[in-house]
């Protein structure tokens, strides 16, 4: 069978059409410069520990889920379960292979999570759409149970928690806030670059085709089931690494309870609010979710005189999230990222320019 593309014959075949290669994105480089150099220097420990690191990790998790849900169209409520796999697997590797470099341990944890994700994606050949979401629900509860019931995973610690092993790269210790921040930033930067490559490639187009109309995708020759499983695997890889970073670069100690169903919902909210099917959206959503609690407690101080207690802040948060989800779903299903794009477009013609 044909292994080459039929070139459309003359007179419709011209000399190769000029394809404009993407120019070097100066804005992005500046942003990276700030992130890698300025922020660690200027940001205090509080900012790094409590805001930037969780923001980055949640962005990564959102990115992972977005690949599966936003780009391939498969809703999943099991994100936290896959994060747990990554966290516990990385922990296991670092514990049992003392000589293993940290980056490799992270990748290995991610691969474990990818394998689990792949298995969860297997039923996609028989089970469709909404029901496949139930598979992710089953996986979530099952994984939560596994990481509580089998002490081997947390080295038989009586508290059931895993703690950050000594973090270092090539001998340089990473235990400080700056160190953990740079580790997280570096990982997120690399994985984001990969994600951008993927969504712009034919693989990304195939995923989106499956999302938009899987019957048509099958008819034009896309092996739908294979791509679904691939999406599950890749998404879980990202989530696994995010889980490891969440446990070790942010929390310090974690247990199965850090990766419960509420966390899964949180990741889902990130991409709904930020923008499904958008890489930038994952970051925007994560920023929103990271910053809102702080805004609320400070805002609460202004509005209510004394500060709201933590419980009330949480409740208020819940209400606001819920309202935002609904508002976004009704008015702007493409999330904040689309909203911001529209705003930018409107600003570009204001005042009217000729």
């Amino acid at each position: 069978m044909s292994a080459s593309i039929h070139r459309l014959p003359a007179p419709f075949d011209h000399a190769p059409i000029e394809i404009v290669e993407r120019r070097l994105p100066w804005g992005l480089l500046a942003l990276l410069g700030v992130a890698f150099v300025l922020l660690p220097l200027l940001g205090g420990d509080y900012w790094l520990n409590a805001i930037l690191i969780p923001f980055l990790v949640l962005s990564l998790a959102g990115l992972g889920l977005n690949l599966l849900t936003g780009y391939t169209g498969q809703t999943s409520v099991g994100s936290a379960g896959f994060m747990a796999v990554g966290a516990f697997a990385t922990y296991g590797f670092l514990l049992r292979e003392p000589g293993l470099p940290l980056p490799l341990a992270l990748v290995a944890g991610g691969l474990f999570a990818a394998a689990v994700g792949f298995v969860v994606g297997i039923p996609s050949s028989r089970i469709k759409g909404f029901y496949l979401m139930v598979t992710t629900l089953a996986a979530q509860f099952f994984l939560e149970w596994v990481f509580v019931k089998f002490p081997w995973f947390y080295n038989h610690a009586s508290s059931g928690t895993i703690s950050a092993p000594r973090l270092e790269i090539f001998g340089h210790p990473l235990g400080s806030a700056e160190g953990r921040y740079l580790l997280t930033l570096g990982t997120v930067a690399v994985l984001t670059w990969v994600a951008v490559n993927l969504v712009r490639s034919q693989i990304g187009r195939n995923w989106m085709a499956i999302r938009d109309m899987d019957t048509a995708a099958a008819v034009i020759g896309i092996p739908v089931e294979r791509y679904r499983r691939l999406a599950f695997a890749v998404s879980s890889f990202y989530l696994g690494i995010a889980g490891a970073l969440w446990a070790f670069a942010y929390l310090g100690t974690a247990s199965a309870g850090s990766f419960d169903i509420n966390r899964s919902f949180q990741i889902l909210f990130i991409i709904i609010i930020g923008g499904m099917g958008s890489i930038a959206g994952s970051f925007i959503g994560a920023a929103f979710i990271s910053l809102l609690p702080i805004l609320l407690s400070h805002g609460g101080q202004l509005v209510f005189g004394g500060s709201l207690d933590a419980g009330q802040v949480q409740n208020l948060q819940k209400v606001i999230f819920g309202v935002l989800i609904i508002v976004f779903l009704i008015r702007e299903p493409e999330g904040l990222v689309r909203l911001l794009a529209k705003l930018r477009a409107r600003l570009a013609v204001w005042p009217l320019r000729f």
Partner: protein
């Protein structure tokens, strides 16, 4: 399946005694006809006559209850849609099976999916082979866009395009991999006279310049007369006419099937 390239026969497609029913309702009854290589064959008939179902059988979406299809001398009753695509059957749909949230050029490029050779890691890390292939795909898509005069809409989200343009994009997606047989399901539905003329022109160009055999479902007799050399008429899933447009128009059975009203 034979592994040597079959000698191109005169007939690219043969439908032999195909029958298909849904829950007791017969959609197609003992249908037989043949399509010559390189011709434009129109399937016409009143609504519900089984035309779309036949197209679905031809590219493997439905499995007929009996009979067989011969495509490029290969016999089969049911073929997997992926396999049909692989063998060079392209298809458009009545309701525009486009990927609504993707751009025009991305939609067209998905048509090349089965020709993708670079692997996951290559695409993930932007390795040279993946980049070369992506460039080749992009160039092919640009050629198609130019052929169908769609360049102006290259990056537009398909879901926001006018219906007529969407149908053209769908044609582009079906075309890009160079199919030997193109199945078009009402490619001109919802178009005004000018748009129909344009679409006819494109279909003729595809047939003449690329040598693609075309089987299309069409309701507008004027279009059929001008566009096709071979017409097959269906009524209640049975063939009631088969020949040149002139022959078919004069056929009393055909006239009866339409009750005299042909628009």
């Amino acid at each position: 399946m034979s592994t040597h390239a079959p000698t191109p026969g005169e007939f690219i497609l043969e439908v032999n005694n195909v029958s298909l029913s849904f829950k007791g309702v017969k959609a197609i009854s003992a249908l037989s006809f043949r399509v010559r290589r390189g011709e434009i064959c129109a399937l016409i008939g009143p609504n519900g006559a089984g035309k779309s179902s036949l197209l679905n059988v031809l590219n493997g979406v439905y499995r007929p209850d009996s009979g067989e299809v011969v495509f490029e001398s290969e016999h089969f009753r049911r073929i997997h849609p992926l396999e049909a695509a692989r063998r060079g059957v392209g298809r458009t749909f009545q309701n525009n099976a486009l990927f609504k949230k993707m751009s025009v050029i991305d939609n067209v490029q998905t048509g090349l999916s089965r020709h993708m050779r670079s692997g996951f890691l290559e695409q993930a890390f932007g390795l040279p082979r993946a980049r070369r292939e992506a460039r080749a795909f992009r160039e092919q898509a640009e050629s198609v866009l130019e052929f169908l005069e769609l360049q102006a809409y290259r990056d537009v989200e398909v879901g926001s395009l006018a219906y007529g343009l969407q149908k053209r994009v769908e044609l582009g997606r079906a075309l890009i991999a160079g199919p030997g047989l193109l199945l078009l399901d009402e490619p001109m539905a919802g178009m005004n006279a000018d748009e129909k003329r344009e679409m006819s022109r494109f279909i003729t160009d595809v047939n003449r310049d690329l040598g693609t055999t075309v089987v299309l479902i069409e309701h507008d007799m004027g279009v059929v007369m001008g566009l096709s050399g071979h017409v097959v008429v269906l009524d209640y899933g049975r063939k009631v006419g088969d020949g040149t447009p002139a022959e078919v128009q004069a056929n009393p059975d055909v006239i009866a099937a339409y009750l005299g009203t042909v628009h």
